[in-house]
C-alpha cells in the first residue's frame, strides 16, 4: 500500500510541473503549446552544463530555469503571438516546428548520448515494506514546494488574481486596466521556469536526454486535458489520476479470477489504460474533470 502510494506520488510529481505550466499558458493563449515540453529537455541539459561548470546543484537548476523562462517569453513574443493571429491550429503547428528546432539545436550541441548529472548517490530509506531513495524524496519535496508556492502566487496575491482574471475573460480584464501583454509574458516566464525545473528533477533520477520532451508530450497533454485546460491545479490532479490508474492497473493481481497463478495486465497496456481513463473522463465531464469555467448556456 505504501509502495503504491509512493509510486503514484513519484509519477504524479514527474508530470505535474510540466502539465501545470502547459495548462497555465493555455488559459491565456488558448492553444496547446507543444514546444512547452521541449523546455523541460532544454532545462535538463542546461542544468547538466551548469553542473559541469562546477555550480552547486540548486544554483544550476535556478540558472537553467531562468534561461528557459526567458526562452519561453522570447518565443512567445516573436513567434507564437504572430502565429496566434491566424488561429490556434496555426499556433499549434508552429509550436511543433519550434519544437523540432529546439531538439535539433540540443542534438547538434550536446550529441545523442544521455548526459548524467553524476550526483552523489542518495541513501535508501525503508518505509514499511517499500524502499525509497533520498533523491526521490528530495524531488518530491521540491515539486510539492514549487506547487505550493505557485498556489500561493495564484490565489493569494493580486498578481495571481490578475492572471486568473485574464484567463477567464480577457476583454473584461483588459477593460479593467490589466496590462494583458505584461501578464502574458510573466505567465510564459513562470511556465518556462517550471517546465525547466520539472525537467531537471526528472533528469536527476536518470539523465538528461534529447528525446525527453517528445516522450513527455502525450502524458502531459493527457494530464492537462483531464484537469481541464486552463486550470493549472486541475492539471496536477489530472496527473494524479493518470498515475493512480497506471499504478493500479499494473499492480492488481487478477490471478484469483483465473486459477491462482500470478496474473497481471501486461505493462505494455499501461499507456493505453491512461488513455482509456482520459476518454472515460471526457465522456463524463466534457471540459475536463475540474472545469469551473462559466459558459453561456
Amino acid at each position: 500500500m505504501i509502495q503504491f502510494l509512493i509510486d503514484t506520488l513519484i509519477r504524479t510529481a514527474d508530470l505535474s510541473l510540466v502539465a501545470l505550466g502547459l495548462s497555465l499558458v493555455y488559459g491565456l493563449v488558448r492553444f496547446a503549446n507543444i514546444a512547452h515540453v521541449q523546455y523541460t529537455m532544454t532545462g535538463a541539459f542546461l542544468t547538466a552544463e551548469g553542473l559541469q561548470l562546477g555550480m552547486p546543484f540548486t544554483m544550476a537548476i535556478l540558472c537553467s530555469a531562468v534561461i528557459c523562462g526567458l526562452l519561453a517569453v522570447f518565443l512567445h513574443y516573436h513567434v507564437f503571438a504572430a502565429l496566434l493571429k491566424a488561429g490556434s491550429a496555426n499556433a499549434m503547428i508552429g509550436s511543433l516546428a519550434v519544437s523540432m528546432m529546439l531538439v535539433a539545436v540540443i542534438l547538434g550541441a550536446e550529441g545523442s548520448a544521455p548526459i548524467s548529472y553524476n550526483l552523489p548517490i542518495g541513501t535508501i530509506w525503508q518505509i514499511a515494506d517499500s524502499r525509497v531513495s533520498s533523491d526521490q524524496i528530495w524531488s518530491l519535496a521540491m515539486t510539492l514546494l514549487i506547487i505550493a508556492a505557485f498556489c500561493g502566487l495564484m490565489f493569494f496575491t493580486p498578481q495571481g488574481r490578475s492572471i486568473r482574471a485574464l484567463a477567464s475573460n480577457r476583454d473584461l480584464a483588459a477593460a479593467s486596466g490589466l496590462n494583458a501583454s505584461t501578464i502574458v509574458h510573466a505567465v510564459n516566464f513562470i511556465a518556462g521556469m517550471m517546465a525547466s525545473v520539472g525537467g531537471s528533477i526528472i533528469a536527476m533520477n536518470a539523465s538528461a536526454y534529447v528525446n525527453q520532451g517528445n516522450d513527455l508530450i502525450l502524458p502531459v497533454l493527457a494530464a492537462a486535458i483531464l484537469g481541464g485546460l486552463g486550470n493549472p491545479i486541475g492539471a496536477i490532479l489530472g496527473a494524479l489520476l493518470i498515475a493512480v490508474t497506471e499504478t493500479v492497473v499494473t499492480n492488481i493481481d487478477w490471478g484469483w479470477l483465473l486459477g491462482g497463478e500470478l496474473m497481471f495486465i501486461p505493462t505494455t497496456w499501461i499507456n493505453a489504460s491512461s488513455f482509456v481513463i482520459l476518454l472515460l473522463a471526457l465522456l463524463l465531464r466534457p471540459y475536463g474533470l475540474f472545469d469551473r469555467e462559466v459558459r453561456r448556456v
Binding site: D7, D14, I121, A206, E246, N251
Partner: protein, 372 residues
C-alpha cells in the same frame, strides 16, 4: 505569394543541380541509421564504427585504389523515412550497397527494397528472426536473436537459475528477444515466470519493476539500452531488486551510462571482442581508436558490427575488382560466409545469417563488462 513560390522553386532547382554533381571519383557506400529519435545514441555509435572502418580502409590504400566514402541518411526509426532514404541512396547516389538500420522495423522494408532491386544489403543490428526472410542479397553480420537467446539461456541455466523474469523494451527488438529467449530457455528446461515489455521513454519504471518482482524469480534477465537502461538500473537498485541476480543480454549497452554502483555485480553476456581483458588485437585497437577519436568508450557492440560490415563491403569490392552491384553480389556470395572480422568469423548459412557467433560470459565491474 508568387515571390515566395519562385524562391522556393529556385532553391529546389539549385539543390537539384548540385545534387547531381556529387563526387564521382570515390566509391560511395550508403548507410541508413537512426540519427534522431529514441535510438539516436546507438545510431551514432554505429555511425562512428563505420567511420572508423572507412578511415582504416582508406589509410591502407582504399578499395581498388579508390577512396571509400560514406553517405549516411537518417531514418529517424521510421519505415517510410528509411524507404525514402534508400531510394535516394540507390537511385540518385547510385550506391551498390546499403548498411542499416538499427531497428528491425526499418531494416526489413529497406532490405526488401534492396533485394528486389538486386542490390546489396548488410544488416548490422536488426536481430528479429524475420530478418531471415528478407532475401538473397541481404547479409547479416550480427547473429539473430535465436543465437544470442540460446547462449544466454544455456548460460543462465548453468548458473543455476531455473525460474527467471524477463525485461525488455516494447518494440521490434525487445519483442523478438523475449520470444526467442522464452523459447530457448523453456526448451532447455527452465521457466520464464514473468515477462515485462516496458514502454520506452518513461521517466520511471517503478511500476513495471514492482510487477515483475511479485513473481519472485531466481534471476532477472534483461536487455535494454539508452536512457531506459539507465533508469531501469537505478530504480532496480533503489527498490532493492539487485539482491536478486540480474543477467544482462548485451551487457555493454545495458550498463552504459549507469553509475558503477547501480550495476556492479550484474552478470551477462556480450559479443566476443567487447569485454576488457580479452580481445584479439583487432578488437583492442577498435576500442582504443574509438576512445581516442570520440573521447568515450564504445556505447554498444553495434558499432563493432557496423565496422565489420564496412570491412566486409570493402573486401567484396576488392575481390570483385569493381563496385558494380552485380559483380559485388557475386563476390559477396564467395567471401561473406567465411569472412572474419572484429566480431569473429561470420560462418553464414544458406539464408546469409550467422550460424555461430562467439559470445563471452561477462560480469559488470566498475561500470564495464569484464570476463568471468
Amino acid at each position: 505569394m508568387k515571390r515566395h513560390l519562385s524562391q522556393i522553386v529556385a532553391a529546389t532547382g539549385i539543390t537539384f543541380v548540385c545534387s547531381i554533381n556529387t563526387a564521382l571519383a570515390d566509391v560511395n557506400l550508403g548507410a541508413i541509421l537512426p540519427l534522431t529519435g529514441t535510438s539516436a545514441s546507438i545510431g551514432e555509435d554505429q555511425r562512428r564504427g563505420i567511420e572508423l572502418a572507412i578511415e582504416q580502409i582508406n589509410a591502407h590504400g582504399g578499395v581498388n585504389g579508390e577512396k571509400l566514402s560514406l553517405i549516411v541518411e537518417d531514418s529517424a526509426s521510421n519505415p517510410v523515412t528509411g524507404l525514402n532514404a534508400v531510394r535516394k541512396l540507390t537511385q540518385v547516389n547510385k550506391v551498390p550497397l546499403v548498411v542499416g538500420d538499427f531497428s528491425s522495423s526499418v531494416t526489413i522494408p529497406v532490405g526488401q527494397y534492396l533485394v528486389k532491386n538486386n542490390l546489396l544489403h548488410i544488416n548490422i543490428s536488426g536481430t528479429s528472426t524475420d530478418v531471415r526472410k528478407i532475401g538473397k542479397t541481404s547479409y547479416s553480420v550480427i547473429g539473430l536473436d535465436d543465437l544470442s537467446a540460446r547462449f544466454s539461456a544455456d548460460d543462465v541455466l548453468s548458473l543455476g537459475y531455473h525460474k527467471v523474469a524477463f525485461v525488455a523494451p516494447d518494440g521490434a527488438y525487445g519483442q523478438g528477444m523475449a520470444e526467442q529467449f522464452t523459447k530457448a530457455f523453456e526448451k532447455a528446461g527452465g521457466k520464464v515466470v514473468a515477462k515485462v515489455l516496458y514502454t520506452s521513454g518513461q521517466p520511471s519504471y517503478r511500476r513495471e519493476l514492482q510487477q515483475i518482482s511479485r513473481s519472485h524469480p531466481d534471476a532477472y534477465v534483461y536487455t535494454s539500452y539508452g536512457q531506459d537502461a539507465i533508469v531501469l538500473n537505478r530504480e532496480a537498485w533503489e527498490l532493492g531488486m539487485h539482491q536478486t541476480p540480474w543477467y544482462g543480454m548485451y551487457l555493454t549497452m545495458a550498463i552504459s551510462g549507469s553509475s558503477g554502483q547501480y550495476t556492479d555485480g550484474q552478470l551477462g553476456m556480450e559479443v566476443a571482442e567487447k569485454a576488457q581483458g580479452e580481445a584479439s588485437s583487432a578488437g583492442q585497437s577498435y576500442a582504443d581508436n574509438y576512445q581516442k577519436q570520440f573521447k568515450e568508450k564504445p556505447r554498444s557492440v553495434y558499432g563493432s558490427y557496423a565496422y565489420d560490415s564496412m570491412m566486409l563491403a570493402a573486401a567484396a569490392i576488392n575481390t570483385a575488382k569493381s563496385a558494380a552491384p552485380a559483380a559485388m553480389i557475386a563476390a559477396m556470395q564467395k567471401i561473406a560466409p567465411t569472412f572474419t572480422g572484429l566480431t569473429g568469423t561470420l560462418n553464414l548459412d544458406a539464408d546469409n545469417q550467422r550460424q555461430t557467433q562467439p559470445y563471452l560470459k561477462v560480469k559488470a565491474l566498475s561500470g564495464s563488462p569484464v570476463n568471468r
